[in-house]
C-alpha cells in the first residue's frame, strides 16, 4: 500500500535488527501488517522510538486513564507538553515533571543538565515563561565513592543548566537508600507562568503549512535515547557512549526568548520541542494531534556532521531544538526573530492532506507510515500484577528489638543525609534570579510572586518511597498528602499535580502491582483534595543487576497563595511564641519510618494510614489560618516524625544566624513508648507557632475545620535548648549543636568529591 525505499547503504531489516530495536515479535508483526510490507531501517527506527515505553506508555496507559484530570481550574490536562491551571486575573501556570534517570546513570553531569533542559522546553513551548525549577533525586548511600560521584555530578549538572538559563530552583528533594545504588533517579520539574490567552498547543494544522526546525543543528548524539530509557541498565549501557548528549544552556536561553517572542507575536500555528526521539516524536505527535500528514525532507535539516543518514537524523536527540508549524507567509518573520536571537531556523517539511508520515532523503521516500496509526496503534499491554510475598512478609514482620536512646537517636536522624539539610545541594542552585522568590529552598515549599500581582504560587515535589515499598497504595496516598501539606503549610491552597512514575520493569508482576497500586493511591488522594493530575511522565525499567528501585512516584504540586503577605515560613520566629500541634496523635505505628529504617536499619512493619478527609480539613485550616495572619510558622511532620519536625523548626532556616530553643510538654498525649510518640510518622500533623494570646483563636478555627489541635509548648531563647517532656521521660539538646549536625551532615561526606571519579 504505502511505499518506501531503503536509503542507499542502509542495512536490511532482519530478525536480529528488529531485536536490536527493542521491538518484540508481536510488535513487529503489527508493523508489517500496518505497512503491508517489510519496513525500511529508517521506518523501523521510527517505530522503535515511538513505540518505546518512554514515548508510547504501552504498559501504563490504562492505569494513567484512572487519574482524575478535570476540574474548574484545569485549562490543559494531560496530553500536551505540560499541564496548565488557571490563576486569578487571567494568569495561568504551566508545569510538568520528567525523568532523566538512565542518561544520568551513564554521565551524571550531562544527564542531569539535559534533563533540566528538556523540561524547560516542555514548559516554554506552551507559551509560558519558566519561573521555577525543582528536582527530585535518589542515590545509593554516600559511603560509596561511586554514589558520591553520581550525586555530585548530578547536582552540578542541574545547577549549571538552570543557573545559566536563569530559572530559580525553588525546591526539591534528595533521598539516599540502598535500592538506588545501581540506578539513581533524576527527576526535574519546571513551572512557568503565562497569560491564559497565550496558551499554545503542539499541534500541526493547515495543509500546506510549513515545518521548521529552530535552534541547534542535528548531530549524532543520543541516537535511540528513547528506547535506551526503556530498558534495564546493564553493562551494555556503559558501551552506549554516543548516546550521551551534551547540553548547551546558552542556546536554550536564546531558544526560550525566541519561542516566547514567536508565540507572543502569534507567528506560529504549533510548536514542540524535540525531546526524546527528537524529530521523530515531535513531528509525528504534532501531526497526529492535528489529524494531518507531514512530509519531511532530510536534505534540508541542518546537521552538525556531514554524511548523516535519514535514520540518524530522525532519531538524533541533539539538544536545544524546536519544531515549528507555520503558515508560509510567516516564515520570513520567523526567521528574522530567530536571527535576532542568533539562532538558525530552516524549513524542513510541510503539512499534507494524506495523513501519511513521510520522510524523504536524496529525492526518494525512505519512510512512509500512516501517521495516526504510527502514534495510536502501539500495542497496549495489561501485565499481571501480584504483590511480592517478601513485601507481605515485611509488613507483618515484628518490630525490631531496640532500646530507645532518644537523645542519640535524634542526632543520628539529623545526621542522616536523607533527613539532614540539603543546603549543600541548593546552595549550588540559583534560587533568587528573576527577583520573585518569597520562600526559597529550605522550607516546606517554595513560594514565588506572580510578577505585577499581589498573589503567588507555592511549589513542591515529594515522594516517600519507603512507604511505597511496604504498601504502594497507602504510600501513593501519603505522597500526595505530604505534597499538599507542604503547600498548605506556606498558606497556599493546593491546585493540581504532575507526577513522575519511576518504577522497575513492569513485565514483572510484583513491579506492576506496585505501579498499579501506587497510582490508585495517588488517584484517590487527588480526587479527595480536588488536585487533578495535569500530566506527568512514566519511567519504567529502573533496574540494575541488583534489582528494581523502590517504587518512586514523585509528585510535583502547585498551589495558590492568594495574598503574598499571608505566606507562612517553616521555622520558629520569636522567643515566647506558643507551639501547637495539629492532627491526630493516636496512630503511632513505626512501620516504614525513618527511625526504624535509618537508625535501626529495619524497613518493615505496618505504617500509619492516611485519612484523606482529615488531610483535606487540615489543608483548609492551614490556608484559613494563614489568611487570618494567625501563624508565625508552620512545618509538617514527615520523615522523622514529630521530633524531627520540632527540631527543624528550632534549628531555623539555612541562613538564620541563630536557632531558637523550644520546650515541649507532650505528657498529655500519653503512652509509654517514647520512640513511637516522637518518631512515628502519623499523617496530618503540623507543628505551628503562634504569637502568645492567639492560641484561642487558632483553637476556634481548628474546631471549625474539624482539626484537632493542642498547645504543646513555647519557643525558647536564641541558641537555647530543645527540651521535650513526655509521660515517662525528659530529653534535652542544645540547638547550636543540632544545627551543626543538621547542616554539616552532607558537606562532611562530600568534602573530597574530586577523588570519587576514580570509582567510575
Amino acid at each position: 500500500m504505502t511505499i518506501a525505499h531503503p536509503f542507499p547503504g542502509e542495512r536490511p531489516v532482519t530478525a536480529e535488527v528488529v531485536k536490536e530495536h527493542n521491538l518484540n515479535e508481536l510488535e513487529y508483526q503489527r508493523i508489517v501488517a500496518m505497512l503491508e510490507r517489510t519496513p525500511t531501517l529508517t521506518e523501523l527506527g521510527i517505530f522503535s522510538a515511538l513505540w518505546s515505553e518512554h514515548c508510547s506508555y504501552k504498559h501504563s496507559k490504562p492505569i494513567l486513564k484512572t487519574f482524575p484530570t478535570q476540574g474548574p481550574q484545569v485549562l490543559q490536562g494531560p496530553g500536551e507538553n505540560a499541564g496548565v491551571l488557571g490563576l486569578p486575573d487571567g494568569w495561568a501556570v504551566a508545569f510538568k515533571i520528567e525523568s532523566h534517570n538512565h542518561p544520568s546513570a551513564v554521565e551524571p553531569y550531562q544527564g542531569a543538565a539535559t534533563g533540566v533542559g528538556g523540561i524547560l522546553r516542555d514548559v516554554f513551548t506552551m507559551g509560558a515563561r519558566p519561573v521555577a525549577v525543582l528536582n527530585s533525586l535518589r542515590f545509593g548511600p554516600l559511603d560509596s565513592a561511586r554514589n558520591r560521584y553520581l550525586f555530585g555530578g548530578v547536582v552540578k549538572g542541574v545547577g549549571d543548566y538552570g543557573n545559566c538559563v536563569g530559572i530559580p530552583t525553588l525546591g526539591g528533594e534528595v533521598t539516599f537508600a540502598p535500592g538506588y545504588s545501581g540506578n539513581p533517579l533524576v527527576n526535574a520539574m519546571c513551572v512557568g507562568l503565562l497569560r491564559a490567552e497565550d496558551l499554545t498547543l503542539a499541534q500541526a494544522h493547515g495543509v500546506g503549512n510549513l515545518l521548521l526546525t529552530m535552534g541547534s543543528s542535528t548531530g549524532r548524539d543520543g541516537i535511540h535515547g528513547a528506547s535506551f530509557a526503556s530498558e534495564d541498565l546493564s553493562e551494555k549501557s556503559e558501551a552506549r557512549r554516543p548516546q550521551v548528549q551534551v547540553g548547551d544552556p546558552f542556546t536554550e536561553k536564546l531558544l526560550l526568548e525566541a519561542t516566547l517572542e514567536l508565540i507572543e507575536r502569534r507567528l506560529v500555528v504549533g510548536i514542540q520541542d524535540m525531546g526524546a526521539a527528537g524529530l521523530t516524536s515531535s513531528s509525528a505527535e504534532m501531526a497526529a494531534r492535528g489529524g494531518v500528514g507531514v512530509e519531511l525532507d532530510m536534505d534540508k535539516v541542518p546537521t552538525r556532521e556531514a554524511g548523516m543518514t535519514p535514520y540518524e537524523i530522525m532519531l538524533s536527540e541533539s539538544q536545544e531544538r524546536m519544531l515549528i508549524v507555520a503558515e508560509p507567509h510567516r516564515v520570513e518573520e520567523i526567521v528574522a526573530v530567530c536571527r535576532k536571537w542568533e539562532l538558525d531556523a530552516a524549513v524542513v517539511g510541510h503539512v499534507t492532506d494524506d495523513g501519511m508520515f513521510r520522510i524523504k532523503a536524496g529525492g526518494v521516500t525512505v519512510a512512509e507510515i500512516p501517521g495516526q496509526r504510527l502514534v495510536d496503534d502501539v500495542p497496549i499491554y495489561y501485565p499481571d500484577a501480584q504483590e511480592s510475598e517478601k513485601v507481605v512478609a515485611l509488613r507483618k514482620a515484628p518490630a525490631p528489638a531496640h532500646k530507645a536512646a532518644i537523645e542519640k537517636d535524634l542526632v543520628a536522624l539529623l545526621d542522616n543525609p536523607s533527613i539532614a539539610s540539603k543546603r549543600w545541594v541548593f546552595e549550588q542552585y540559583d534560587s533568587t534570579v528573576q527577583a520573585n522568590t518569597l520562600i526559597g529552598p529550605g522550607g516546606d515549599a517554595g513560594v514565588l510572586k506572580v510578577p505585577g500581582t499581589d498573589f503567588g504560587i507555592a511549589v513542591t515535589v515529594d515522594c516517600n518511597s519507603r512507604l511505597l515499598a511496604l504498601d504502594p497504595y497507602e504510600g501513593g496516598k501519603a505522597t500526595v498528602a505530604e505534597a499538599a501539606r507542604n503547600i498548605a503549610c506556606t498558606g497556599a491552597l493546593p491546585l493540581g499535580i504532575t507526577d513522575c512514575l519511576n518504577f522497575g520493569n513492569p513485565e514483572r508482576p510484583e513491579v506492576f502491582f506496585q505501579f498499579r497500586e501506587a497510582c490508585r493511591g495517588i488517584a484517590d488522594a487527588c480526587r479527595a483534595f480536588n488536585t487533578p493530575v495535569t500530566g506527568g511522565n512514566v519511567s519504567l525499567y529502573n533496574e540494575s543487576p541488583t534489582g528494581a528501585v523502590d517504587p518512586t512516584p514523585t509528585v510535583g504540586m502547585v498551589g495558590l497563595l492568594e495574598k503574598l503577605a499571608c505566606r507562612t515560613p517553616s521555622h520558629f520566629a520569636q522567643s515566647g511564641d506558643k507551639v501547637l500541634l495539629t492532627g491526630p496523635t493516636a496512630d503511632r505505628r513505626l512501620g516504614g519510618s525513618a527511625y526504624w529504617a535509618l537508625v535501626l536499619e529495619f524497613v518493615g512493619g505496618e505504617q500509619p494510614t492516611v485519612d484523606l478527609d482529615q488531610e483535606l480539613r487540615l489543608q483548609k485550616f492551614l490556608v484559613a489560618g494563614a489568611k487570618a495572619g494567625l501563624f508565625r510558622s508552620a512545618h509538617d511532620c514527615a520523615s522523622g516524625g514529630l521530633l524531627v519536625a520540632a527540631a527543624e523548626a528550632a534549628i531555623g532556616g539555612p541562613y538564620a544566624v541563630h536557632g531558637l530553643g523550644a520546650s515541649l510538654d507532650l505528657a498529655a498525649l500519653g503512652g509509654s513508648d517514647d520512640a513511637a510518640l516522637l518518631f512515628s510518622e502519623g499523617h496530618g500533623r503540623v507543628v505551628l507557632s503562634v504569637a502568645p494570646g492567639n492560641e484561642a483563636a487558632v483553637a476556634a478555627l481548628a474546631k471549625e475545620h474539624g482539626v484537632p489541635v493542642a498547645t504543646i509548648g513555647t519557643v525558647g531563647a536564641v541558641d537555647g535548648e530543645l527540651a521535650v517532656k513526655t509521660a515517662g521521660g525528659a530529653y534535652r539538646w542544645p540547638v547550636p549543636a543540632l544545627r551543626t549536625t543538621y547542616f554539616n551532615a552532607i558537606p562532611r561526606r562530600m568534602s573530597h568529591v574530586a577523588e570519587d571519579r576514580a570509582a567510575v
Binding site: 554521565e107 551534551v246 576514580a758
Partner: protein
C-alpha cells in the same frame, strides 16, 4: 628518580557537541579572525611527576588521566612529557 614536567590536554570527544568551542569560534570570527575554524575547548593540566624514566612518567600520567583527569564518557586525553 627524576622530576618530569608533564602536559596533559583533555578535550571533548569528537562528535560530541562542544558549545564552548562553538561560542569561541563565533567570537573569533566576529573579531575578524575569519581564518580560525574547528575550535574545541578543553582542559590543560600541567604537573610535575617523579619517575625513573620518561616512559614511566608518561605511564603514570596516563593512569592519572584514566582514573581522574579525564571523563572517559565524554573526553579524550593526550599526554606529553618534557625532556
Amino acid at each position: 628518580m627524576t622530576t618530569f614536567k608533564v602536559h596533559v590536554r583533555v578535550v571533548p570527544r569528537a562528535g560530541l557537541l562542544d558549545p564552548q568551542g562553538q561560542a569561541v569560534e563565533h567570537a573569533l570570527t566576529a573579531l575578524g579572525f575569519a581564518e580560525a575554524s574547528g575550535v574545541r575547548v578543553g582542559k590543560a593540566i600541567e604537573l610535575a611527576v617523579k619517575a625513573d624514566s620518561k616512559a614511566a612518567a608518561e605511564a603514570r600520567a596516563r593512569a592519572m588521566c584514566d582514573k581522574l583527569l579525564a571523563n572517559p564518557v565524554t573526553e579524550d586525553y593526550l599526554v606529553e612529557v618534557e625532556g
